[in-house]
Amino acid sequence: MQSIARKKDVVSSVVVFAGALWAFLEAESFSSGAAIFPKGVAGLMMILSVIMFMRAVAFPSFLADTIGNMDSWEFRRMAIAAVGTVAYILLIIPIGFVEASILYMLVNCYGLKYRNYKVVVITSVVFAFLVSSLFQRYFHTPWPEGVLSRLY
């Protein structure tokens, strides 16, 4: 477990240092008053990331407990869930909120191997229409126009 924590800390300290360095250099172009705070915060991040790196390399016994790596079953399922979410969000404007939501719920359940199709279809359709109409009625939300309403 300690080797996993060590690897995680080394990777994250390098990433954080790089990000903080970029934020610090970017803040150089701000006017002096506007730069104080972001430069201070970015500087602090760089110092902390160096400490984190040194701790991981030189004093690994000080590392806190870590969550273990996912097994392939878990990783595959989480990847399906996350990629499905990205695809769903990208589809909202082209095909509409209700249509994208129904499609996402159906594909997601299929991808995650849930095979009770009757439940999935009913839940998807009812929930998508319920959320959409609730927001339209009470919050006057102008959802992106759907392909179905464009056709008919």
Binding site: A34, F37, V41, M45, D65, M78, I92, L112, N116
Partner: protein, 505 residues
């Protein structure tokens, strides 16, 4: 103060507000009953929905979710030994044996009443203890407020994770995100990449919803294997009363006190265990603990809800949140135009006390809404496949974030925040400090710069005023404590290792 307390109660008796409290409590119970979905996720999901409401109904809804969640988590803990939250794990130690003895309904009734007692006493502490803290903070100038903001950030960074360095880095990330957009003092653009969308900064709600809802939702699908098998058990729920007042009142009083103190002084995850062991210590039948003790269930449920409202005392008075939910409530207040501190009580006293009343009323609602009768219905929720929950959470998050400003860009920000949040969780970074950095960052920067203007750029203003020095020292002590603990643990490990080796020799 009395005027505001009465005004708050009157405000809470509005039909819409009552409806929101009932709705919130029901949602909270449902969310709590589903393992893996905590109060933070529920409140983060609900915040965009409150934007079109007045502050009282909005806070009533959020208070209901917060209160209901604690009791909801007890239902699977008692029925199936599946704790809906970390705190309800202790409940399962005695609740489940009671269920096996055919007293599931009685145990659920007892947990609902215990939750209600803890919640009510905690809300009363919120009403009574906040004002004295506010009175102290009235003497604060910009340097002191700056240090209070830093203390708030340090509290969350140090206590809501298990690594102080990572907690501080998370808070710094929030501060940097908060500095995106036009600088309100000089008008300079910061980290906007010449994008019109970023001129007003990153939307708090989108970041908060993304970071608090997407990662736990994505992680839900990895738990599916465990949940299905256990939930298949069939336990009868018969509504009955299995406790006497004389049997539990001392446990309720003690657990409430522990819970209230735990809420005010955050960071202790051991409150449930402490209350449980204290209840065992004062019990006439300590041998029943772990085998179906009435006092055991009463203690763990009472302490779990007793820190709900009390955690809001430092949050409302000083802007120092001590829990994930308090961080979200702080954000919700800001979204509704209220800034914690003395001004909050002079400008919105009715709303603050209205919130405390909402915690009282929603706690009372637990008895009819979350007792054994209702638990029969909620028990069915555990049969809902977790795979179905994921898209429901995602669609609701997307809808709420989009509807907040009718902007698809906010949804993309939410998605990006979710991805960052997931990476942070997988790499053991706490996520709450990001949100608190985002919320407190603007205030901290404002007070830093006003202080420097007052002192003509002399930084000694931050270390030359007595209250500033006190808060600064408290912050340093808070930051040093985890380091001291780590060193002490290491020393103790070495000693025990040496002893073990000596014994082997």
């Amino acid at each position: 103060m009395l005027h505001d307390i009465i005004g708050g109660l009157v405000g809470m008796l509005d039909p819409l507000t009552i409806l929101m409290m009932i709705l919130g409590t029901l949602i909270g119970i449902v969310i709590g009953a589903l393992p893996g979905i905590g109060a933070s996720l529920g409140i983060a999901l609900a915040i965009p929905f409150t934007y079109g409401m007045g502050p009282l109904p909005a806070l009533a809804l959020l208070a209901g979710i917060h209160t209901g969640n604690g009791q909801g988590a007890a239902i699977p803990a008692i029925l199936f030994k599946i704790p809906g939250s970390a705190g309800s794990m202790v409940t399962s130690w005695d609740g489940y044996p009671l269920a096996l003895k055919g007293k599931a309904g009685g145990a659920i009734n007892l947990s609902a009443v215990s939750c209600a007692v803890g919640g009510i006493l905690s809300a009363i502490s919120l009403m009574l203890l906040t004002q004295p803290l506010v009175a102290i903070s009235r003497s604060f100038g910009p340097p002191e407020i700056f240090w209070v903001n830093v203390f708030g950030l340090a509290t969350v960074a140090a206590l809501l994770g298990n690594d102080i360095i990572k907690g501080l880095l998370s808070a710094c990330l929030g501060l940097l995100i908060g500095s995106v957009g036009i600088d309100t003092v000089t008008g300079a653009e910061r980290y906007t990449f010449d994008s019109v969308y970023l001129i007003n900064g990153l939307p708090d709600v989108a970041v908060m919803v993304g970071i608090f809802t997407l990662p736990p939702a994505w992680e839900l699908v990895t738990r599916d294997r465990d949940a299905v098998g256990n939930a298949a058990l069939g336990i009868k729920i018969v509504s009955e009363r299995i406790w006497r007042f004389a049997q539990v009142w001392k446990v309720w009083a003690l657990s409430s006190l522990i819970g209230i103190i735990n809420g005010i002084l955050p960071g202790s995850a051991i409150a449930s265990f402490l209350a449980y062991s204290e209840a065992k210590r004062i019990s006439k039948h300590p041998e029943e603990f772990g085998k179906g003790s009435i006092e055991g269930v009463a203690a763990s449920e009472c302490v779990g809800s007793a820190d709900n409202a009390s955690a809001m005392i430092p949050t409302l008075a000083l802007g120092i949140p001590g829990s994930n939910v308090a961080v979200l409530m702080l954000s919700a207040l800001q979204i509704h135009g209220m800034t914690p501190g003395p001004q909050l009580f002079s400008d919105h006293g009715t709303i603050v006390y209205g919130y405390a009343w909402a915690m009282v009323i929603t706690s009372l609602l637990l008895i009819p809404l979350a007792g054994a009768g209702a638990a029969r219905i909620f028990a069915y929720l555990l049969k809902v496949p977790i795979i179905l929950l994921l898209p429901l959470i995602i669609v609701t998050s997307v809808a709420g974030t989009f509807a907040w400003q009718n902007s698809m860009s906010n949804v993309f920000i939410m998605l990006a925040s979710g991805v960052v949040g997931l990476a942070m969780i997988r790499y053991d970074f706490p996520i709450a400090p990001v949100v608190i950095g985002l919320v407190l960052g603007t205030k901290a920067e404002f007070n830093l710069r006003v202080s420097l203007l007052l002192s003509d750029g002399d930084w000694s203003i931050f270390v030359s005023r007595p209250i500033s020095i006190v808060i600064m020292l408290m912050t340093l002590a808070l930051l040093m404590y985890p380091i001291y603990r780590a060193l002490a643990d290491r020393r103790a490990n070495r000693v025990s290792q040496a002893q073990a080796e000596a014994e082997l020799d």
